[in-house]
Amino acid sequence: MTSKGTFTFMRNQVREQRTQQGLSQAELAAALGVSRQTVISIESGRYLPSLPLAFTIARFFGLTVDKMFDPDEEADT
């Protein structure tokens, strides 16, 4: 978290969930309606998705948003 209380990086479960389900980044991107590059950016924590996309991702994996994205931990960079 930054000093202003906004998140710039956030750990998420996207990579773990995707590999558990045996999906490639391209397949997940197609399912979510985004580009493969965006999936890569989300997995690495470089891009924080919008709230609608965060819900779409969480619902796709059958999780809640706060289970999918953890605001208490910074992503590995």
Binding site: G33, V34, S35, R36, Q37, T38, S41, Y47, P49, S50, L53
Partner: protein, 137 residues
């Protein structure tokens, strides 16, 4: 109108229209430099073909060129355009300042760029909700 054009063709079509207008301006102007219009058409054609080819690539640039960008890619484009506008504003201010210092007659295009840019910025604030905090309980 753009919804009638296939996404991959939208940006190339825009460039083609702009290029043809630019070439037509040189042709209408006439004089010994009429051949610049032919050069403009050739350069536009090359740019349109390259943009169309880029639209098929599986990259951020390809997605933007092919008008199929997702939210992150649109944000990238927006940030890049904001940076470009900042550069243009600084350049226009520099040009205006230089023109004034040199007592040159070409100061006004720079002022027009600054005024139009400023108006666009204020229009953006107004359109995109800068005044939404007026509704308070």
């Amino acid at each position: 109108m753009t919804t009638f054009i296939r996404p991959r063709l939208r940006k190339p079509a825009g460039i083609a229209v702009a290029g043809v207008l630019f070439a037509a301006a040189w042709l209408v102007r006439g004089g010994p430099l009429w051949w610049v219009s032919i050069l403009a058409v050739i350069m536009t054609a090359v740019r349109v073909i390259r943009l169309y080819q880029m639209g098929a690539k599986d990259t951020d640039e390809g997605a933007l060129a092919g008008s199929r960008a997702d939210e992150r890619q649109k944000l990238l484009s927006l940030q890049s355009r904001a940076l470009a506008c900042n550069f243009a504003a600084v350049a226009a201010f520099g040009g205006l300042t230089a023109a004034i210092a040199l007592d040159a007659g070409w100061w006004w295009p720079f002022l027009v760029i600054l005024v139009v840019g400023g108006f666009g910025y204020l229009l953006g604030l107004s359109n995109y909700g800068a005044s939404e905090d007026v509704e308070q309980n």
